[in-house]
Symmetry: C2
Subunit: 159 residues, 2 copies
Amino acid sequence: MPKLDLSQIPFKGGSTYPGKLAQAMARRSSQRLGDAGGLTQYGVNMVRLEPGAASSLRHYHMQQDEFVIVTQGTCTLIDDDGEHTMQPGDCATFPAGDANGHHLVNKSDAPALFLVVGTRTETETGHYSDLDMKVTMDATGFKFTRKDGSPLTAEQIGE
Amino acid sequence: MPKLDLSQIPFKGGSTYPGKLAQAMARRSSQRLGDAGGLTQYGVNMVRLEPGAASSLRHYHMQQDEFVIVTQGTCTLIDDDGEHTMQPGDCATFPAGDANGHHLVNKSDAPALFLVVGTRTETETGHYSDLDMKVTMDATGFKFTRKDGSPLTAEQIGE
């Protein structure tokens, strides 16, 4: 039925980032609400950040609109303009193609949760603001490279 | 900047429903968060229901995924399966083409708020579960008709 049974949707951790970059995603987990409810046109995830955790490496999307609303605790939105404290009910939008890299970090001493919505597209490019890295996505999956398209270095990924 | 200044985004009432059908939308208002933040691929609205208000006439979408999360108060989700109480944090999904008409009603004595996300598409058809009515949308706007495409009757819209 349309109302989701949240108790049946697990919070899962893990990361698609290569090598040691995945370590930045420790203490972050998420519930894939949209998938659980049969949505396909956009993803909707409830993200839980333990103290010290980050939502992602700081990035922006070229093709996908992104929206967040904090639902519990305190998050710090970090973007090109600095740090912005976000409390429950606070919202932020990241239009596709806006080259303002962003992520949310939990700098508090209690868990924080936010809901994030992102369009599903057949292809996508994401740029990482603080690293020489981009990600391209197509039907074959994700591919992380340096910004010029060359492979990530051993120094970057620790392999 | 990405973080929205919610104090600058008005809650607006009103309805696109024709004639007396618009009366069903009294005591409902919404903040157009996605539009305010420059999103175009989906709409994100914070909807406020005063006691007795409804989110919409009970309906379903053929082309647009819909997602809701209650953020304050208590809403009653009414769909083909009956009534489902929704408290803050409760979520529901309505995949495009799922012919389960739904709306949220505030049966409590305090205001309720929910966030709703809906895909933006170039065309759309919506079906109303409790009325002989559908809506079609294209570049020229909305058009409400009977389910067979004929004009709504004077009895239906009170004109």
